[in-house]
Subunit: 207 residues, 4 copies
DNA sequence: CATGAATGAGCCTTCATTCAT
DNA sequence: TATGAATGAAGGCTCATTCAT
């Protein structure tokens, strides 16, 4: 009985928190980052100002949560994509699939405005970006694995050290997503990415 | 007599404006974008607050001027660099020289923080970015010219349409500068850029 | 049956109230007055926020209770101390014992921070200080009794009217405790108090 | 001409600052310390909120200024009072004059409410009390000098070490002013102080 | 009796902008 | 042209208190 009530209350609380969070995300995707104030969030969410601070320690904490959520949404499927290939698959092929997957996730799940916000936060350097940094490391690790496999399999020429090669691939994905962000909707991320990485792969393939 | 005085005043005015502007640029390059307030600018420039609004309609106007200046500083030498090569020079070689020049300009003349500011403004989409857009077009044009020349000379394979190829090169330069911004000072822009474009060139060279 | 249950509930209620109160007292003694919020009290007591308002009409009511408690804790033993002496004991001696007892109580039972809180409230004049005022009267009465006895016994010179003399002693105890509060822990209340009152007693002893 | 204008502006600014400060002092003397908000100050002073922050870095800075002002008002005349006596004057006499002067200053210049505020701040321990601490040291120094002189002259018995004796006198002045604060206006500070110190002096005089 | 989610007035502070001189 | 005092909207955050369950 008591537990039941407690449960219901907790549920209500969770709902409010989610409402606040979703509202915030929506606003982040609609307005510029600095324009999304706590005032606006609570007004849009239809709760009192104090309520915000029950669920988020500060505005920064909300942003951290936003970033974490971004990372979580992104991070999930990539390894799965990777693991879905038979061990002897062509490294190039896997890599292009991964790129494809990333493009789909950015386009379909994250959305361009959220991505802008992430980039702005990263440039602002005001926030704790460890979550995003962690994700970057993960992405780096996946590229490194694939490239290493490709080198071992003799697909790619080993002219460059692995870590440097990997960095170039990360740079490429960064340039592509950034360009997508600021050219949206006039930039077909997936097509551009596939084409772009095809060039890079051609540039490192062992003749 | 009156004209003379007017002239002197104008000169003094220009000087004050330049002082304000240069101070602002210095601050943009030193502190985070949001930390550069009008107060700080006028204090650092040693003029009164009201004076700022004589020369700049608003803070946004200053930023617009800052962007224009960025573009101007960047834009100047590239064509010169391009024109300094004999007409029959290798397109790859010219392209790498251009990349080298761009890296030098970003590193030496513009500075990482200013670049961050430019990127943030671009993402914020609050400002009138026509100047920067114009510059982008210019950069695009130069890459296009070079790539076209390379294709004509048989250096590059014509698998991709010229404009698409050009876009890839723009994407690459964008990814490189962005990465430089957020990794600074642990990212050697020039070296990375040269290495990166070498791969791209290898990827499109006609075998 | 119903009564029994009611009784149990009441008991439980009393227990909760005491828990809240004791927690509050502990916090008042640990942190600065303004830092002790209802939130912190209920968290430290392990009860819900609403529960606080079942037992205390407001935060001010809690403070009033705190003051009353302070007075009660202080007031209890003094008369006992006084009565423990044979009727013909030296008044000076009794007075010094009383001072000693007071110092012990402040140091051991009340604590310096609580004392600070009492003083702050007294200065703030926002609260109903009747309890403390009553205690002051009580203390005043005891000093008056002792001094009167001393005068009657010829220990003290009767130059000053009794009430004025008493006031001086109250002033002295006030000065000592205040100094203890703000110098804590670099002020040995008991030693200082005994030494201080010795001077006063020397100052009023009959030639 | 220019200087003239600058001077006029500065004067105006000073006037505003004084207006703010005086208003604040008035409010400190009227309402409880925590009730005096920046909002109320600026409203009472008839200026905009932002104006407050032109002249005071923060609310704390205002309070610090308030304390400094208190100390300045207090500190000025004491040494003068001391120095006005011929070198061979009776130490007791000088001391009583000093007490008299102090009482006059507290009563006439400082005022009881300001004193309350000072005490509250001291108890709150939240503020930088170095100014007040400095003043306390000064007061301590003066008492020490006088007592030392009295001992040397054989007026006072040297039973207690000088510093301990001095401390008792500081305690006494503290007790007296505190009692004055909370009993005001039913406590004649000057009369009480003189009578009180007379007892102390009698208590330490060498018979 | 107990809970804890929700409230909202109020606090301190910042900063782009205006305007009389 | 130059000044700098003054403005006031807005922002992030706190906390005593209420109330449905």
């Amino acid at each position: 009985m008591k537990n039941e009530e407690t449960g219901r209350k907790k549920q209500k609380g969770e709902k409010t928190k989610r409402k606040l969070f979703n509202t915030a995300v929506r606003l982040f995707n609609q307005y510029d980052f600095g324009e999304v104030t706590v005032d606006r969030i609570v007004e849009a969410a239809g709760v009192a100002k104090g309520t915000f601070y029950i669920y988020f320690e500060s505005k920064d904490a909300l942003i951290a949560a936003f970033l974490l959520d971004y990372v979580n949404r992104v991070d999930t499927d990539y390894r799965a994509t990777l693991d879905s290939f038979p061990p002897d698959t062509n490294a190039s092929q896997i890599l292009l699939s991964l790129i494809s997957k990333i493009a789909d996730t950015l386009t379909g799940t994250i959305g361009c405005q959220s991505m802008r916000t992430v980039y702005k936060l990263q440039l602002a350097d005001t926030m704790d970006m460890s979550a995003v940094k962690g994700y970057d490391r993960e992405l780096y690790g996946m590229f490194a694995d694939l490239l290493e496999r490709g080198i071992e399999r003799g697909e790619f020429s080993p002219i460059l050290p692995l870590n440097e090669l990997t960095r170039h691939f990360v740079v490429a994905i960064r340039g592509l997503s950034y360009e997508w962000c600021i050219r949206y909707p006039d930039f077909d991320l997936k097509a551009q990415a596939l084409s772009h990485f095809q060039i890079l792969l051609d540039g490192i393939k062992s003749n």
